[in-house]
């Protein structure tokens, strides 16, 4: 039996097992049979077992170089290092779907095991939901994207075609970790969704299940964050366009659920403290899960144009589309059915309360998620509507009325025999225009939230709380304006000043919270400052872990605010020539051409000078991999400091004259983004913490 056949049979078995488990779970819930509950629970573990076996087979096929399998032939290469051979497993569409099934089955298995006793009544329903989701993804593998598909025509006399190898751009350590992190984050959100659905089906809608699921959401949030940031780092270091986030649809796909998860992590606190926002929290759980499926749909169906979508596949697009509609209808149907049980016992008593600040922050997060999702899908929706409008006049009239298409342009194009409309793309400028103010409002709330008390705050206490942070914010805003003007000779705009000021304001609130917390603790017991600080963080993990996350966010915003005086220059330089780049100068030293077993390399040396002294020598390069010479990669070189990066990438070099087309960037404060990200992750880990009785 070939690996291809064995793999296909395993995937088929896997699919049948998801159906059997779903049926067992449904029967167990209906008949209230303990035996069937155990059977369904064991079924989930068996699904994981089979998914692990199928994945191991695919990895083995890569390691052994079984190029009779199409997926292995397209993504594997005998000369690839073992590490890349293993990671090629999820490097392309079919394998990534299997990887998705593997992770989802692993999480399902862990969640069911951890909650089997704690939420016994929810288990059969949770298994049912998880088995259906697993069944959907496995069905994709069986019917549309089998990674074990062999080449149909084989000639025994001819050796199997050698593998093409993984895309050179993806042979990068960030790129190896980035997709699994995003998958981990996205997949883990299926667990709270399944338990949320079970809670609604059974009517056990108290906050207890949410307490168990909060950790899963936090886990998902953490890994989505890691995935997004590693994607940013990869783009920054590999693509050579001087930035790390360009609102690419596929990157956005990871951002929507991250935003809704962030909203949930705040609003669940309101439910825990005040018994409010039950419906809202369930909505956020449903939306977060739905957005992960929507994100997967965007990434895998090719409906949006992106630098790294997996390619166009209308069949997959339709399948995902139908699944997404089913999820929405069933989830919100259940929510409406259980609405009477979800009525809040308390009401919002004052707008000067922390719950109101959280509510406001939730609206902003949701607004941001919908804005990004809407802007990402709008060009595609416009295209689809355009196709319908071409055939139906009434649709055309509606599109003219709402301004989607211009009637005059449409008619002119039609008369000239051209397509009636052009495909549009939404660029970073559009996103930034709306997301910058939203981001600033959110960082402001990050500072405000902790300062006000639950339920209500009095005016004089507000004044006492806000005075110092407001002064700090104003001072930071003014000082940063003058400092940047003095050192960099740039007058930053209102957004920049506000950004710096809000960073100062929020940073001060965090310091103030720690300071006062330590003071209270030391008042109650004799402790050194360090002991009190450690005690504060360890005994109040969620609160102070959350503040550490906020600190990370402030530093990231500080890094983003640096964009206010970013410099970008595209110049042609010859050896010996010097170009000014803000406070630095860049001198072309010379170009060299080399090669190794894998690629041709063209490197250019540049000196970075500050006040005439050479600080560093940078060597940006262009590499041509032999396996795909039509796709040269850009190797970035940068001089890193706390104040900013001098970032160089080259477009073209004339080897006879040494003329080089080079992109020069000065990215102020950019490294604070990475530092802030590290601190944010640390805070997230503190929040997750550990628990002796693992309730997930």
């Amino acid at each position: 039996m070939t690996i291809s056949t064995l793999g296909t049979v395993t995937i088929l078995l896997l699919f049948l097992m998801t159906l059997a488990t779903a049926s067992m779970a449904a029967l167990a819930a209906h008949r209230r049979s303990e035996r069937l509950v155990d059977g369904a629970t064991a079924g989930v573990h068996a699904i994981f077992g089979l998914a692990a076996f199928a994945s191991a087979l695919l990895v083995y096929a890569f390691l052994a170089g079984d190029y009779s399998i199409q997926y292995v032939q397209h993504n594997g290469h005998p000369a690839m290092p073992v590490f890349y051979k293993v990671t090629a497993f999820w490097g392309s569409l079919d394998g990534s779907l299997l990887f998705w099934v593997l992770l989802l089955s692993l999480f399902s298995s862990l969640a069911i095991r951890a909650n089997a006793k704690r939420h016994r009544e929810l288990i059969p329903h949770a298994v049912l939901v998880l088995a259906i989701v697993l069944g959907f993804f496995t069905a994709l593998l069986v019917f549309l994207k089998n990674p074990f598909n062999p080449f149909l025509i084989t000639d025994a006399d001819m050796p199997a075609p050698q593998g093409k190898g993984m895309n050179p751009l993806l042979q990068n350590v960030y790129m190896i970790v980035h997709p699994p992190s995003l998958y981990l984050g996205m997949v883990s959100l299926a667990v709270p969704y399944a338990f949320g659905m079970s809670a609604m089906i059974t009517g056990n809608v108290d906050a207890q299940w949410q307490r168990s699921m909060r950790r899963w959401v936090l886990f998902g949030w953490l890994f989505l964050g890691i995935g997004l940031m590693l994607g940013g780092l990869w783009a920054y270091e590999e693509l050579g366009w001087g930035g790390y986030w360009a609102w690419d649809p596929v990157e956005n796909a990871g951002l929507f659920p991250w935003l809704t998860c962030t909203a949930f992590l705040h609003s669940v606190m309101v439910q825990e403290r005040r018994g409010m926002l039950k419906v809202w929290n369930l909505v956020l759980i449903i939306l977060s899960f739905w957005l992960t499926i929507f994100g997967t749909f965007l990434t895998r169906s090719g409906v949006v144009q992106s630098v790294h979508a997996f390619g166009e596949d209308p069949q997959l697009a339709w399948t995902f589309g139908v699944f997404m509609v089913i999820i929405l209808v069933i989830s919100f149907g259940l929510l409406l059915w259980r609405m009477p049980l979800l009525r809040a016992r308390n009401e919002l008593e004052s707008v000067l309360s922390r719950e109101f600040a959280f509510l406001l922050n939730n609206w902003l997060f949701l607004l941001a998620a919908f804005f990004v999702a809407g802007a990402t899908i709008y060009p595609t929706l416009r295209d689809w509507t355009g196709i319908l409008a071409t055939d139906h006049e009434w649709i055309r009239n509606i599109t003219f009325a709402i301004g989607m298409f211009d009637e005059q342009e449409w008619t002119t194009n039609m008369l000239a025999g051209r397509p009636p409309y052009d495909r549009i793309t939404i660029g970073p400028a559009f996103y930034n225009k709306y997301m910058v103010p939203l981001g600033l409002a959110l960082i402001f709330l990050t500072g405000v939230g902790p300062l006000i008390a639950w339920r209500k705050s009095s005016t004089e206490s507000l004044l006492k709380q806000f005075l110092a942070p407001l002064i700090a914010g104003a001072v930071v805003g003014v000082v940063s304006f003058f400092w940047i003007y003095q050192v960099h000779s740039v007058a930053i705009g209102v957004a920049g000043i506000t950004g710096f000021a809000l960073c100062g304001f929020t940073l001060w609130t965090i310091i103030q919270e720690f300071y006062r917390g330590v003071a209270v603790r030391r008042r109650n017991r004799e402790q050194s400052v360090l002991d009190a600080l450690i005690g504060l963080v360890t005994k109040a993990r969620r609160r102070y872990g959350g503040y550490i996350v906020h600190l990370g966010i402030v530093l990231m915003f500080f890094g983003w605010a640096g964009n206010a005086y970013k410099i970008e220059r595209k110049v042609t330089m010859r050896p010996g020539e010097t170009t000014e780049l803000g406070i630095y100068e860049v001198r072309h030293v010379g170009a060299t051409a080399t090669e190794d077993w894998q690629k041709d390399m063209l490197s250019v040396e540049f000196d970075v000078l500050y006040r005439g002294d050479v600080l560093d020598t940078l060597t940006p390069a262009k590499w041509w991999y032999y396996q795909s010479p039509e796709m040269p990669t850009s190797e970035v070189s940068r001089h890193m400091t706390a104040g900013g990066d001098v970032y160089l990438s080259i477009d073209d070099v004339d080897m006879t004259t040494g003329w080089t087309r080079v992109n020069l960037y000065y990215n102020p404060l950019v490294n604070w983004v990475w530092v802030g990200f590290g601190i944010m992750i640390l805070g997230g880990i503190i929040c997750i913490g550990t628990r002796k009785t693992e309730g997930a």
Binding site: G39, D206, V520, G695
Partner: protein
């Protein structure tokens, strides 16, 4: 699951031994093959477990009446946890200067009154304490739970042993997890929580001399804090 893991490790061990004994080179493909074989063993073990579970004699889950009582108790416990946490958090916020003294006392008293009633209901006490009821009436909060409180309540604690067992664990979460504002003067960590057997012992409130559970933080008769 454990046997599956032992099987996988055994296979790896056996392959390493064979390679050492025969002097053959252990390449990545061989390791991959052994890993795949291990996963096959693991998946077969999980399938066997499923068949085993299905082959057991059938039992039904707890009847629905218990379930509902359990859900009620769970809600009450949740309410109690939330109120206790809210009080501690309020104190912490007050000590940090986020509330004026009047606001603090006002809000705290409301929480305490609610906590008293929730604890009494959890305890199976059927009526609202007259003093508390008068206070609630004074404050216009008599509708917190008068309808149910006036009625006889099923002794849910006896009906739902599993939920009762869960309580210490849930309380553990509260202390370990609460935003630590619980922290004021309360070093008692998760491990110091009493076990189920200890819950029966009582302590006396210094203010009204009423009997309370040993882990009580507030008196269920008068609502005053019980000093340790």
């Amino acid at each position: 699951m454990r046997w599956g893991a032992i099987g996988v490790l055994g296979l790896f061990g056996f392959t390493a031994f064979l390679s050492f004994a025969t002097g053959a080179r252990l390449d990545s493909a061989t390791v991959g093959l052994v890993f795949a074989a291990g996963m096959l063993v693991f998946s077969l073990a999980t399938l066997f477990r499923m068949v085993q579970a299905l082959a057991r004699p059938g039992r039904t889950l707890a009847p629905k009446a218990h379930e509902l009582a359990g859900a009620d108790r769970a809600q009450l416990r949740e309410e109690k946890r939330r109120l206790l946490r809210a009080i501690n958090e309020l104190k912490f916020d007050f000590e940090m200067g986020k509330l004026s003294e009047t606001d603090f006392n006002d809000v705290k008293q409301t929480y305490e009154l609610r906590a008293v009633e929730v604890m009494r209901r959890l305890d199976g006490t059927t009526r609202v304490h007259p003093e508390v009821f008068a206070l609630l009436e004074d404050r216009g909060l008599a509708d917190v739970m008068p309808a149910e409180a006036a009625k006889e309540e099923p002794e849910a604690a006896k009906e739902e042993p599993e939920a009762a067992k869960e309580e210490p664990e849930a309380a553990t979460d509260e202390l370990a997890d609460s935003d630590g504002d619980v922290d004021s003067g309360d070093e008692g960590s998760a491990s110091e929580e009493p076990g189920p057997s200890e819950l029966a012992t009582t302590i006396t409130c210094t203010a009204c001399e009423g009997e309370n559970d040993r882990d009580a933080k507030f008196c269920k008769h008068c609502g005053k804090e019980i000093s340790a």
